[in-house]
Symmetry: C2
Subunit: 228 residues, 2 copies
Amino acid sequence: MHRVKVRVVEDALDANSTLAQANRADFDRHGVTVVNLMGAPGAGKTALLEQVVADGLGDVRLGILEGDVEGSLDADRLARLHVPVTQINTAAGFGGECHLDANMVRSALGAVALDELDLLVIENVGNLVCPAEFRVGEDARVMVTSVTEGEDKPLKYPLMFRACDVVVVNKVDLLPHLDVDLELLLHRIDKVHPDVPVMVVSGRTGEGIDAVRHWLHELHAAKAAVRA
Amino acid sequence: MHRVKVRVVEDALDANSTLAQANRADFDRHGVTVVNLMGAPGAGKTALLEQVVADGLGDVRLGILEGDVEGSLDADRLARLHVPVTQINTAAGFGGECHLDANMVRSALGAVALDELDLLVIENVGNLVCPAEFRVGEDARVMVTSVTEGEDKPLKYPLMFRACDVVVVNKVDLLPHLDVDLELLLHRIDKVHPDVPVMVVSGRTGEGIDAVRHWLHELHAAKAAVRA
């Protein structure tokens, strides 16, 4: 019995991995670089995207795949900025899942005009646990943490901080009004994921957003060079 | 095949429900009122508990069961205040689950001195989706949302706001520094869960904490009267 159980779990993991590879092949064929944007509810993932979109990414054509349990509030916010946005709701057909998986992303790809994009940002469901366990075919994972969440999050949710390629520390405009030690937070991020690049930003004031824009640009240039 | 699949899901749900009832029977036998405290990572659940514990609950003996994926940072914070705290880590033996379920709580009950308590607060894993789906044997569910998370959370995570008996709106000391409309947030909470009691507090300044303390007192008195 034990062997059968293990086998089922492995199959389930494989299914996500297989579908993530299929997504990745589609993205590569269209020359689209893909970012999986993760973080807690209210970390400011959408506000960060709004800031990035507001001044654009030069000649890099950006699209967004927006994951939410219900509703389309974030997709509506972003669509106002004239960027192509596709909504995935995990409550409709996926049982109210607390994360995106490769199959959900795959089911939405028919609605995404990949040949008109260079960079696709997939905004995951707000959650610091499960999104880290499901690859969706992305080239890179960005994790957003807000200083209002406190300095303890890297130690309490280490998998998420380890599973990402860059950490964005958001809402630093609020630091003067918080009992939060930014240096301690940065130290703990580095302890959990040594040498991970960290960008300190404010989605509200725009502070530090140029670094995010630059990082996205460089990521796409590097991926495009590999594909060429 | 479809019928078999549905049957498996029902059994799984039943297992949690059965164990939640067993937990509840244990709590009732010892006259312990139990609160399931839920909210996003960084909503300030632990800071709220620290404020409640700091001035005590009069003759109501409080204990805490602390749920985290990893580590014991929150349990350590609370134990410093001389309140009995028991830690459950979902990473150890439970696969890094993003929520507590009735079985995890049951597995910890041997370490909780129920006969020395009147009120047990179970602090759930920080998450706005899955904790709402798993009862653990509690008498009431308290949901903490921070104003820094924005006004959109009731619409994006409606199940969590509907599944609770009271909503605590935290971190209102930060309102002067945010582009967040408290009235709109309160309106949306009421829209998703009409007439749910709402307490507006600051875990940092202590504003509104007396109302939380009063609510806990009344809850325990009401449950004790039913049991008598």
